[in-house]
Symmetry: C2
Subunit: 164 residues, 2 copies
DNA sequence: AAAATTTATCTTGACGTCAAGATTTATCGA
DNA sequence: TCGATAAATCTTGACGTCAAGATAAATTTT
């Protein structure tokens, strides 16, 4: 009986007309998300990054040489709005982790590239981040992790389809 | 092969030294969270609420008569900081959905209570919200939902334990 | 070519959140 | 009873996010 169970018990008492069965799953999903995010943040902060800046640097890094993408590409990968990306890039450029130069082939656009400093930082941060994910996942066995991943994959495909 | 799989493939290519197995689960978890939140928001917005205000009103409602709690109680249930709660209560009070009166038994504290308007609103909103959760969960069978809930429960218990 | 449309990016304004610190009131120990 | 400590709440300042709208350049139409 965890906190989410107590919430469900209250609803059962106060609104017995409602079938709140799925609410437990949603509730635990939300709480877990918040605990996991804070666990991941520890490592980001240790490298002077936030989840937001890590996200951008990691996207550039894993895109491979020359570690450069347009803001539009970054927006597509990270699924944030253009305003959010502008903000993130302002911060990263100011920190000297990325460069932002006019795209010679398209006057409307820019090219965002990892600086050497950005490259070094994200390589170290990713190494720690992956180790951290392994640590956080330890609460489940390998089989359970695979099972969970399968369920998340199926659910994600279902709701993404119906969303659009 | 979804978007998360593509990210993993990039890491495999660029950083073959890393075992990114858990990253898929974390990635899908995050994307799913964002899709689900936006699906839930639709209903909140239809009632003129945000996830934040719904959260507070629902906590008061399910606490049962007299539908009143202290800010501290609300903070404990919703797991937000005191500053956040003050903000939420300001908005809700201004909208006439809750009242905020000095606690006669403790000069330091207040009592937050649902107004009749707040009570009516949250009862209608919760009904729709629960139906919406059922709809969003349809992508999984009943068995799968139970399985997922079990895994989330186990994982949550594990990471909550290690967090503190 | 000139006009209309589309694309790429940035700006602005409003939210919601948190951390840290301030204020006020209770409570406890000497 | 008085000073110290604890508790409850609010204030302030900094983030990160989004929606909507503004610019500017490329592309498509006419």
């Amino acid at each position: 009986m965890d906190q989410v169970d107590r919430i469900l018990a209250q609803w059962h008492q106060e609104r017995p007309d409602l079938d709140v069965t799925p609410m437990g799953m949603f509730g635990r999903f939300g709480r877990l998300r918040s605990v996991l995010m804070s666990g991941l943040d520890d490592i980001f902060r240790a490298h002077g990054l936030s989840a937001a800046s890590f996200d951008v640097l990691a996207t550039l890094r894993r895109s491979g040489p020359p570690y450069a993408l347009s803001p539009s590409d970054l927006i597509a990968w990270t699924m944030v709005t253009s305003g959010t990306m502008t903000n993130r890039l302002d911060k990263l450029e100011q920190a000297g982790l990325v460069s932002r130069e006019k795209n010679p082939e398209d006057g409307r656009g820019f090219v965002i590239a990892l600086t050497q400093k950005g490259r070094d930082l994200i390589d170290a941060a990713v190494t720690d981040h992956v180790a951290n994910q392994h640590r956080l996942a330890e609460g489940l066995t390998g089989d359970e992790q695979a099972q969970l991943d399968g369920l998340l994959r199926k659910w994600l495909a279902a709701v993404e389809g119906q969303a659009k």
